[in-house]
């Protein structure tokens, strides 16, 4: 903001850090203080040191499960986005089809989707493939709704221009309609990334076979609270990574596109 900060002194740096992170640090301090003052048992709330210790000394447990969850979430997100885009394109080709499909898509994308997980788990069977299926279905609806809207929001006048020059429907689609849907597509990706991770974990939690969600459930029932909190930490890291990379991808694409 200020043009003065061309040469940044360490003091400026500290000031920026404080102004950005006072909230996060404050919460951590409050947590530590609360644990120390009330002196709760470490089975109830583990000490941060022990959580870090479990993460450092048992990386294998976390890595294997986190890898599986991350893979399922990412693969499901990509497949769901692809499927949603394809259906949106099919719907674009016909007025009647889009009139029928778009309201349904809107309804499903405003339903609390994670509530569908138990139904899907029962339908598809307790299996790792089911987790993938659940993530695909949950990422499908935002992708469909946003892409369908993007395919319709053409720059004003551009469609007429293509018609005047006698472009075929196919040319118009490839060179005008599809590119103008890309920013919307990126919004869908950003919006679906955190729910994809969350729903993968929830599906694993409910079905209890493998993955981070399962690790979480297992450690919670065995009162291994360090591991439960360690799982929370890993889950947060994965979720933040997915979200920030989706945001970065959106920024990158939008800059190239405009």
């Amino acid at each position: 903001m200020s043009p003065v900060s061309q040469t940044r002194s360490p003091l400026d740096w500290v000031k920026t850090a404080i102004s950005r992170y006072w909230g996060v640090v404050g919460v951590l301090i409050a947590w530590q203080a609360w644990v120390t003052i009330t002196g709760v048992n470490s089975i109830v709330i583990p000490h941060p040191i022990n959580v870090v210790g479990d993460l450092v000394f048992n990386p294998g447990v976390y890595l294997a499960n986190a890898g599986q969850t991350l893979f399922l979430a990412a693969a499901g997100l990509i497949l769901g986005m692809a499927l949603g885009t394809m259906v949106a394109i099919v719907a674009w080709s016909s007025r009647i089809l889009s009139g029928i499909l778009v309201p349904l898509g809107l309804i499903f994308s405003s339903v609390p989707v994670v509530a569908l997980i138990p139904v899907l788990a029962r339908l598809l069977g307790y299996d790792v493939k089911t987790v993938l299926g659940i993530v695909i279905i949950i990422s499908f609806f935002p992708a469909f709704v946003f892409t369908a809207a993007g395919l319709k929001s053409l720059p004003p006048g551009s469609s007429d221009l293509f018609k005047v020059f006698g472009a075929s429907r196919w040319t118009r689609f490839v060179h005008l309609v599809l590119p103008s849907a890309v920013p919307n597509w990126m919004i869908a990706l950003r919006l679906s990334a955190p729910p994809a991770v969350l729903s993968a974990m929830l599906a694993e939690f409910l079905m209890g076979k493998s993955g981070l969600g399962f690790l979480f459930r297992q450690s919670a029932t065995e009162f291994a609270t360090e591991r439960a909190f360690g799982t929370s930490v890993i889950a947060t890291v994965i979720s933040v990574l997915c979200f920030t990379s989706a945001v970065a991808a959106e920024k990158f694409i939008n800059e190239k596109w405009k």
Partner: protein, 252 residues
């Protein structure tokens, strides 16, 4: 609002779409196309409106919806209040933004153990719902508060109004459409929070019905619980949509 031919057509197509969806649900269920775990719509309705089950559903709905409402109200009030605070005190804004997005990035499943210890099993759903709603409203309100035009702000400045007066008389009315949109989009988030919370060992509610029905293979019960939660969320979402249209017409 005038009903043009185009609007009528899209309305008709929308209704046709929903009817087709419900018919497909029924047909798949009746013909067992998706196995035993896909009941026909009529069977779900029959189960849901069975008088002997009424007590069960009403108790579960009371428990879940009270958590949804509590979480929704708490999250909205805190989100709007903090957005107003950082608007009046811009110094604290970067830290608050960062805190809100960090909290939002933590998956609800990771927060559950903390809430179970800090609050109680019964109120975990409320806390998750409140956090979800808080984030959406904080973001939409902070961006909405910047909607007032520079000319109006200058006018208030020249007439010597305080920051609080400007917030209440100018910025808040200008932010209202964004706030109402935020309130609409946070409805499903509140339901998700409450249901999720109940999956972590609550002793009542629709979420508990879903999990126990899933584990015990009570298919009609499972579908009924999911249907009730989804429909309730959709109805509130639709009502907020109407409110949104009214506010957009009035304040924009």
């Amino acid at each position: 609002m005038k009903m043009t031919a185009e609007r009528w057509q899209s309305l008709t197509l929308g209704i046709v779409g929903i009817a087709l969806f419900l018919a497909a649900w029924e047909a798949i269920g009746v013909n067992r196309l998706a196995g035993l775990t896909w009941p026909p719509l009529s069977a779900v309705f029959q189960f849901m409106f069975d008088p002997t089950k009424a007590q069960l559903f009403i108790r579960a709905m009371e428990a879940s919806f009270s958590m949804v409402i509590l979480g929704y109200v708490t999250g909205s009030v805190v989100g709007i209040a903090l957005a107003g605070l950082v608007h009046v005190l811009p110094v604290v804004r970067p830290g608050m933004d960062r805190l809100a997005s960090v909290i939002h990035a933590i998956p609800a499943i990771a927060l559950a153990p903390l809430f179970i210890v800090l609050i109680s099993r019964e109120f975990t759903g409320m806390a998750i719902a409140a956090l979800n709603v808080f984030f959406i409203l904080y973001v939409s309100t902070t961006s909405g508060l910047n909607n007032s035009t520079a000319g109006h702000r200058d006018l208030f400045q020249v007439l010597g109004s305080s920051r609080t007066t400007r917030l209440l008389r100018l910025d808040l009315p200008a932010a209202l459409p964004a706030v109402v949109s935020g309130m609409k989009y946070s409805v499903p988030a509140a339901f998700i929070g409450a249901i999720l919370g109940e999956w972590f060992g609550s002793s009542r509610g629709l979420g508990l019905l879903m999990v126990s029905a899933m584990q015990n293979f009570q298919i009609p019960l499972l579908w009924s619980a999911v249907f009730i939660a989804s429909t309730a969320s959709l109805i509130v979402f639709g009502l907020m949509g109407l409110l949104e249209q009214f506010v957009y017409g009035r304040y924009k």
